[in-house]
């Protein structure tokens, strides 16, 4: 498994470079927005990747609640953390795109507001994991994650059910996209998905090592002679 990591790293790097080239040069220029529309090729794949990661977090949290497996707990933590990173990218690139196109950085419409709420829920999840030292923390966090995941379909479908400032969906829901743009969008999503997988794998290894260190410290404390000062 460990030998696969560098191979996947090289493939992912190549995909990301190709995706960047296609986003900046290969994709056709949008008629009304011009070059700034190319932010779309980072903004949308980041959103989709974040949603997938939050769904993974949901699944892992459910498994943990039912089976109490440490591996499920680690996957839940890792997927939430990386999901927050991708969701941060969405919340940063969105306003940067909005400013020249809408003339405003932000508006409290359903899509933007629900995405911000989703981000806050998962940041709360991470705060709970980080600052709570109770033995029940993984269980509480898993419960929060299962409820938080209900926000994900709400965010996704918000532009279908509400009239918002945010553009209507490009795929389904009556929307459409130039096939060449769709091709570039999907390449960028593939590249970011591979990248997210590698980041999650790295973070998982870190979490596993952290738990080993914590266990080693705990054992050391147990085996220390009585009355000894560390």
């Amino acid at each position: 498994m460990k030998r696969l990591f560098p191979i996947l790293g090289v493939v992912t790097a190549a995909l990301l470079v190709y995706a960047l080239y296609m986003a900046l040069i290969g994709a056709p220029t949008e008629q009304t927005m011009g070059n700034v529309q190319r932010i779309f090729y980072y903004h949308v794949p980041s959103a989709w990747t974040a949603f997938v990661l939050f769904f993974v977090n949901f699944g892992a949290s459910l498994v943990y609640l039912v089976k109490r497996k440490a591996a499920a707990d680690m996957v839940a933590l890792v997927s939430a953390e990386v999901g927050v990173v991708f969701c941060t990218v969405v919340l940063v690139t969105g306003p940067i795109w909005a400013r020249p196109v809408w003339g405003i950085w932000w508006t409290w419409d359903m899509r933007l507001t629900s995405t911000l709420v989703l981000w806050l829920i998962y940041v709360s999840y991470l705060f709970l994991r980080r600052f709570s030292s109770s033995g029940e923390t993984p269980t509480l966090a898993a419960a929060l994650a299962v409820l938080g995941a209900l926000c994900v379909p709400f965010v996704y479908f918000s532009i279908w059910f509400f009239r918002t400032q945010h553009p209507q969906p490009v795929m389904g829901g009556g929307g459409s996209i130039d096939p060449r743009m769709l091709h570039v969008l999907l390449i960028n999503w593939l590249a970011f998905s591979c990248f997210a997988f590698l980041v999650c794998w790295s973070r998982y290894r870190l979490e596993k090592l952290q738990r080993e260190v914590d266990q080693a410290h705990a054992l050391e404390s147990l085996m220390a002679p009585r009355g000894s000062v560390r």
């Binding site: 070059n35 903004h43 870190l206």
Partner: protein
């Protein structure tokens, strides 16, 4: 529309700054933990 290229550059640059910063924290914490566990194993 040329001024809009600055927004495009900013969006792409910030995306990678966010990702690289996060990756750097993972790498840094991993190295720190590796040193700690090696030192714990030596003290056994």
């Amino acid at each position: 529309m040329k001024g809009n290229n600055a927004y495009l550059l900013a969006a792409y640059a910030l995306t990678w700054i966010i990702h690289i910063t996060y990756l750097a924290t993972i790498v840094s914490r991993y190295s720190q933990l590796k040193r700690e566990i090696d030192s714990l194993r030596k003290n056994k």
